[in-house]
Symmetry: C2
Subunit: 200 residues, 2 copies
């Protein structure tokens, strides 16, 4: 069976990457790989759906065994991407999506060089700021912090394979762009070396 | 203005690459760059349409000046791709197509690393042989020679960026595949480094 493709999607807060990914999952062409965490489940969260909720001991054993594609610690809890779940889905021919911040994305690139790294951006920083302020749910301090984080993330653009612009209200277009990338990537020569066998 | 993309298309005889390219040129999204040659024009051939017909002296001066992206000699005549024509078209934002055999394609990769190399193949060697024999215009010797040439070309698959399969009677599908590749390539991060300026 043809192996699936691994997509790692990053992007500053306010670029609407969650909505773009939602479109991709709806059609069943993409599979979302669930992360693992040591934090306790919140009400309504389910094991294997929102996260794999595991103990710190098991998480650390996973890191030691090389079964975390990437991991990071936030506010005293570990979060990471279990390798086996990703590899199983790829082996089944599924296109896998991981939504990961830039640092984790670059960790994955090292462990799985064939991963396709996509950075989702707003058209420009003014649009991004308008979106973040417009939410009205965050203080000016938080908005300023996110803007500075966005600036840092954009400097990592060259480490990514593709940039997809999510224009306001056009998340379906951005999702379509990612489908186009998936189609083109399937034709990449290095993924089709098996064709040589058909010409002997 | 956004620069155009340079596509270098190769493929064994019998893969129908001429028909695929014809589809791409029809819609005006792609521009075919005319080659230069030292051979004399045949009846009906026009300078600047079929070839740039130039003297051996001018051709060799062009090579010495680095104005040939690639060149080769066949049956006592020189054939090559003038760099300036390609660069002018790219600067005008046109997507340029060059149809070049594998050796010339790899010469271009060295001179223009951003070129996109596409190898067009039949689904397998049986299909290719059936096509070549089916033409009925070539002797068994010529067919055998072309088949051996095809085998050699396929071993160079890894040097290409993409492989496009041209299934019998589906050249419009293969053309569409190349349009998909063009769309995806426009989103490649290294072609969008200018976006960083919009996030400062």
């Amino acid at each position: 069976m043809e192996k699936g493709l691994l997509f790692v999607i990053s992007g500053p807060a306010g670029t609407g990457k969650g909505t773009v990914i939602k479109h991709l999952l709806e059609t069943g062409e993409f599979f979302y790989s669930v992360s693992a965490t040591t934090r306790a489940p919140r009400p309504g969260e389910e094991h294997g759906v929102n996260y794999y909720f595991i103990s710190r001991e098991d998480f650390e054993a996973g890191i030691a065994a090389g079964d975390m594609l990437e991991h990071a610690e936030y506010v005293g809890n570990l979060y990471g991407t279990p390798k086996s779940a990703v590899e199983d889905a790829l082996a089944e021919g599924k296109n896998v999506i991981l939504e990961i911040e830039t640092k984790g994305a670059l960790q994955i690139r090292e462990k799985m060089p064939q991963a396709i790294l996509i950075l989702i951006l707003a058209p420009d920083i003014q649009t991004l700021e308008a979106r973040l302020s417009g939410r009205g749910t965050e203080s000016a301090d938080i908005v300023a912090k996110r803007m500075s984080e966005a600036r840092r993330e954009v400097t990592l653009l060259d480490k990514y394979d593709y940039v997809v612009i999510n224009d306001d209200g056009k998340s379906e277009k951005a999702a379509q762009d990612i489908r186009t990338i998936a189609e083109a990537e399937k034709m990449r020569a290095f993924r089709n070396a098996h064709l040589k066998q058909k010409f002997i």
